[in-house]
Every structure is written in structure tokens, then in C-alpha cells.
């Protein structure tokens, strides 16, 4: 039988039992729609996490010294005092994959402006910290390396600090505040960045030249940590290796010895965070797939009923010359049509439901072409898989028995 005739015959027999066809299709529709919606939710949350991770900066590497130990008692990570400015210079000079590197010290400071006060972290860094972290100023200017060399008492503050010391819409550039009783001139305000992936307020901080914080506020000679950025994302691993080699050499460690510092890259953090949402996506998709499977069983059930009901029709077709193959194809195409049509409606419904979730629950959703294609392929595979057995059964009928069937 020609494909055109097969299609017409299949469509006609589906049209004979509209309600039944629709209900069978409903199983596939719900299955496909839920797969699409669940994948959209999973993908959406994954992307929003990735977007948050990227607020850390571009291709960032964080370098901490290892935990120190005093008489066998180990202190917290980063407490070792072995890292110095020489390490920073060495990395800047000898690591070709590293774009920027800055030392970093962090102190707690009590900020006072008139009768207002606020406690927050004060970071001492080089100006290139702003490049690494992707920070921009909304107001004023950045300090320079000259400010660092002369340990000038200037600072850049975040929006949260401004709100708490000056009120929400004030412009503090040019004003003086006292940090731990030392007067600082505010020369810039950072752009609002919001919370990061871990719930920290990224606008609640003060950034000052490195030596100002290190020498004037903290009075230490070592540096607490370093922040570097690789020239491009693929170079992150190379940068990490280069930094390891340079620091090991500086700290007189042999190649086989463990390093006395730790490097964490932005990729590590992103991977850890997206792993969770990846598991969530798989879980949701699995549950949705099960409903698709149940829909497939529905198809099989109805096709079996249909074969029994139409035994006589099969007998008639065989007596006028239909081969087993023709009958098989006819029933297979019916099953395939149900599942493909169901798949199509399901995809449409799934996209609508995802948009609804996005609008009403304001949950981020992302519908990918892959998930649509996958649902289509999966649902037609289900049609063939679950249609095969009933079709096989129809094709294997003996024409004499089929003709006699009441």
C-alpha cells in the first residue's frame, strides 16, 4: 500500500473514534508537556545560578595560603603568613596566561559619618581588582597605583555603605568618613551589584588601596590572599598551573611537594553550584518521562483493543491481498500518528505552561531546542515501541480465522 493511502486510512480510523483517540493522545500530551516544562524549569534555574556566579568576575582565580600550624595545632585556612608582595610581582611577571593579579587584605572596620555609623569589611587591593571583579563605578574615580605606593587614605564604597552612612540618594564623593578612627576620603561609589550566589550583599564593602589597609589599618607585612584573572576562559587551567609552579619555586618547594597555598577557580565554583541544579533537572525530567511512558502504555492498550475490534477488517484486507507487512504498517502508522500528534500538542502546551510558570511564579525558565527535539523523538519512539506489539499481533493473524471472527 502506498504511504499516502496508508496515512489516509490511519487518519480515517483515528477519526472514527475521536474521543478515544483524544484520550489516548492525552497521555502523550501530558507526558511531553511535563517533560518540556520540567526541563525548562531545570535549565532556567541552572542558567540563573550561572549568571550569579559570573558576578564574581571574569575568569577569576583565588589564591590562599594554606593553614598554618603552631606546635602541631592547625589554624584556619588562610592563616599562614607566608604570602608576600613578592609573590604577586612574580605571578605578574612570569605567568603568561594571567591577565591581572592583585594582593588582597581584608579588615573589619567601624565606619563613622557624623552621627551615623556602620560596620563592614574593608578590602585592600590594587586598582586592577576592579577589572578582575568586573566592578564599575557609578560615581567618582578610582584610586591609582600611586595612591597605593603612598598609602593614601582614599576609598571607594558600595551602595549599601552609602545608604547607611549618608541616606539612600546621597552623593558621598568628596566626603570624609572615619574608618576605625582614621579619616578616609570617599573618591568613588561602585555600581549596585546585588547579592551573590551565596546570599552575600556585594554592595556592603569598602575598597581602599592595598598598602593603606595593610599598613595603616592592619599593620601587617604579609598578604592574606591574591585574586587573579586568566586572559580567557580556556586559559583558566593554564593560569592555575603557572601560578602553582611560580609560587612553589618562590616558596622553595620541590615539584613533588604539596603546595602551601590553595587555588580555586571560578569554574570550580560554578561547577559545584550547577551540579545541584543539574541533579534537580534530571530528577524532574525523570518524573516527567515516567508520565510519558505511562502515556505510551496507554497507546499500546488502545491499539490492542483496536486490533481485536477490527479483526474482521484485518481479515477482509488480507483476503483482498494485504500482506502481513501492510497490516503491520497500517497499525504502526496509527500508533505513530497518535504519538506524534500528541507530541506536537504536548510541546505547544509545555511551552505555554513554562511561560505561565515564568510569568506567575517569576521563576526563570529556559526552553531549549534540544528539549523540544528530544521530546519529539522520544514520543515517536514511544509510538513505535508500544505500537509494535499490537501491530505485530494484527499482522500475524490468520486470514481465515480473522474473517470468521465475530
Amino acid at each position: 500500500m502506498k504511504v499516502k493511502n496508508l496515512l489516509i486510512a490511519a487518519l480515517r480510523s483515528l477519526a472514527k473514534n475521536k474521543m478515544r483517540t483524544f484520550l489516548t493522545m492525552l497521555g502523550i500530551i501530558i507526558g511531553v508537556a511535563s517533560v518540556i516544562a520540567m526541563l525548562a524549569i531545570g535549565q532556567g534555574s541552572k542558567q540563573s545560578i550561572q549568571a550569579q556566579i559570573s558576578t564574581l568576575g571574569t575568569n577569576v582565580l583565588m589564591i590562599w595560603p594554606q593553614a598554618s600550624s603552631a606546635g602541631g595545632v592547625r589554624q584556619e585556612a588562610g592563616s599562614s603568613q607566608k604570602m608576600t608582595l613578592e609573590d604577586v610581582t612574580a605571578i605578574a611577571d612570569r605567568c603568561p596566561s594571567v591577565a591581572y593579579v592583585t594582593p588582597q587584605v581584608r579588615s573589619s572596620g567601624q565606619l563613622v559619618n557624623g552621627n551615623m555609623n556602620w560596620r563592614t569589611s574593608v578590602y585592600g587591593v590594587y586598582p586592577n581588582y576592579f577589572e578582575i571583579r568586573n566592578l564599575n563605578l557609578s560615581n567618582g574615580n578610582l584610586f591609582t597605583m600611586n595612591d597605593d605606593r603612598s598609602a593614601t587614605k582614599v576609598c571607594v564604597v558600595g551602595q549599601t555603605v552609602v545608604t547607611n552612612l549618608f541616606g539612600s540618594d546621597a552623593d558621598p564623593v568628596g566626603s570624609f568618613i572615619r574608618i576605625n578612627k582614621i579619616p578616609f576620603k570617599i573618591i568613588g561609589v561602585t555600581e549596585k551589584k546585588g547579592q551573590n550566589a551565596f546570599g552575600q550583599d556585594q554592595d556592603d564593602m569598602v575598597i581602599a588601596p592595598f598598602s593603606t589597609v595593610q599598613k595603616r589599618m592592619m599593620a601587617i607585612t604579609y598578604i592574606q590572599s591574591m585574586l587573579a584573572s586568566a586572559k580567557s576562559e580556556p586559559q583558566i587551567a593554564a593560569a592555575s598551573q603557572e601560578i602553582t609552579d611560580v609560587l612553589k619555586a618562590k616558596h622553595n618547594l620541590g615539584p613533588s611537594e604539596d603546595p602551601d597555598f590553595t587555588i580555586r577557580t571560578q569554574t570550580d565554583i560554578a561547577n559545584a553550584a550547577t551540579a545541584t541544579s543539574g541533579i534537580l533537572t534530571i530528577l524532574l525530567a525523570t518524573i516527567a518521562s515516567i508520565s510519558l511512558l505511562v502515556g505510551g502504555i496507554g497507546i499500546m492498550n488502545i491499539m490492542l483493543v483496536s486490533v481485536t475490534e477490527r479483526t474482521r477488517e484485518i481479515g477482509i484486507r488480507m483476503s483482498v491481498g494485504a500482506r502481513g507487512r501492510d497490516v503491520l504498517l497500517q497499525f504502526l502508522i496509527e500508533a505513530l500518528l497518535i504519538s506524534l500528534l500528541g507530541g506536537f500538542i504536548g510541546v505547544t502546551l509545555g511551552v505555554l505552561v513554562s511561560q505561565l510558570i515564568a510569568n506567575i511564579l517569576s521563576w526563570p525558565v529556559t526552553i531549549t531546542i534540544q528539549s523540544i527535539l528530544m521530546s519529539f523523538i522520544f514520543s515517536s519512539a514511544i509510538g513505535i515501541f508500544f505500537g509494535w506489539y499490537p501491530a505485530r499481533k494484527a499482522a500475524g493473524l490468520n486470514p481465515i480465522d480473522a474473517l470468521r471472527y465475530e
Partner: protein
Amino acid sequence: MGKAIISVKSLVKVYKMGDVEVHALRGVNVDIMKDDFVAIMGKSGSGKSTFMNIIGCLDVPTRGQYLLDDVDVSSLTKDQLANLRNHKIGFVFQSFNLLSRTSALENVELPLMYNKKIASREMRERSLNALEAVGLADRAHHFPNQLSGGEQQRVAIARSLVNDPVVILADEPTGNLDTRTSIEVMGIFQKLNHKGITIVIVTHESDIAAFTKRNITFRDGRIIKAIEVDKPRNAMDELANMPVMVEEDEV
């Protein structure tokens, strides 16, 4: 009469029903010539249906030889048998066996659908011609449930002859019809036979068999009698002479 369309030699069919062997045919020899019009008669269980199934290529014999239009059928596969049914045989059944909710025309087209060589235009043309041959051209787009029993059987006859078969096999074609419609149907068979189509019908009514040219009687899986009909009844003449009041029988 020309060559044998159907040639059967020592045909044996044994069914196994569990442990019991049922000998449906115990050595049947018969030749059916081109242009012949044969009635197969016999009581139920005499083996006439089994014989029909085998010469209709719906079943294969256990032993013996069967040549249909010079093709040895005994050794063919299922698909080859289907192909043979499609090209060389037309079936008419007692219960019409039309596809419901499918128009008369499409029912007639059915055998041609399974013949890949025929284009849809030719399919339509031949089906309309077949319907015209049975006098139902004006009913082409009616559904079976809108047709009377006699009309349904005529659609079935049209379906059986649409593929230009070498033989039309009819299993109790008048079994579900009243006397007048039975005669009408036999009239159509006579007309087709007159045009040169070989026809074999199974019937247990001797007055229906009287319309044919040859009667073959089965009993216990063997042919016990094969006679030429002396003076076959002529359906057209009888219909013309029938009183019109027969029409009111249904009241």
C-alpha cells in the same frame, strides 16, 4: 472451454485439534476450466469450505497439488499467497464483509490499494466501472449501512471483480438474502460469467446451484458427484416473470 484455471490433484487437508486429527479433505481431484460456472455443494462438515479456502489461497493443503492459472500454490510463502489473492482471485462472502463507515466506492477500491502498480486515477476509474457492472454506479458514495443486503452483496461482487481476477470465489453469496435478491445476485454472476469470468460458488441450496453450469457435491472430504447442469435457470427471465407483489413481501 479452454484450459484449466484451477487444477487440483489428490488434495489432502488435515487439521490438528490438540491430539485429534481432523481429515477435512481426503484426496480431491478436480479441474475447473476457464469460463466455467461451478457450484460446490455439500452439507456442513463435508469439506467444501476447506476446499474453498485452499483454492482461494487463504490456506495451504497438507498434501497434494494445486495449480492456479499454472502457478503451483502448495509451496508459496504467506506474502506470495497474499500477492496471488490480490492479482488472481476475487472473494464474495456470505456476510458481505464490507468495511463499515467506508463508502461503496472505497470498498471496491480496496484490492487495488494493495497493488502498487495502479495509480489512484486508474483505481477510481476501474472501481466505478466495476460498480457500474453490478448496476450500482449511482450508489458509489453511499456507506454500507445505507445500502440494502442485496446492494451490499453487489458492492462485494464489484470489489471481487475490480482486480480482473482469473476466478471469483463466492462462499454462500445468497445465504443472507431473500429469494428475489438471491436471484438478482445470481443474475449478476450469470452476466459476469457470460462475459468470460470464471466463477465458483459454495451453496447448499440446490435451486441456487441450478443457476450454474456445473455442480460438484462434497461429502466427508471427497467429491461424490460432479454433474453438468442440464438446463441452467436463467435469472433475468425469472426476474422478468416474477409478480411485482414480491416487492411488498417486506410489509
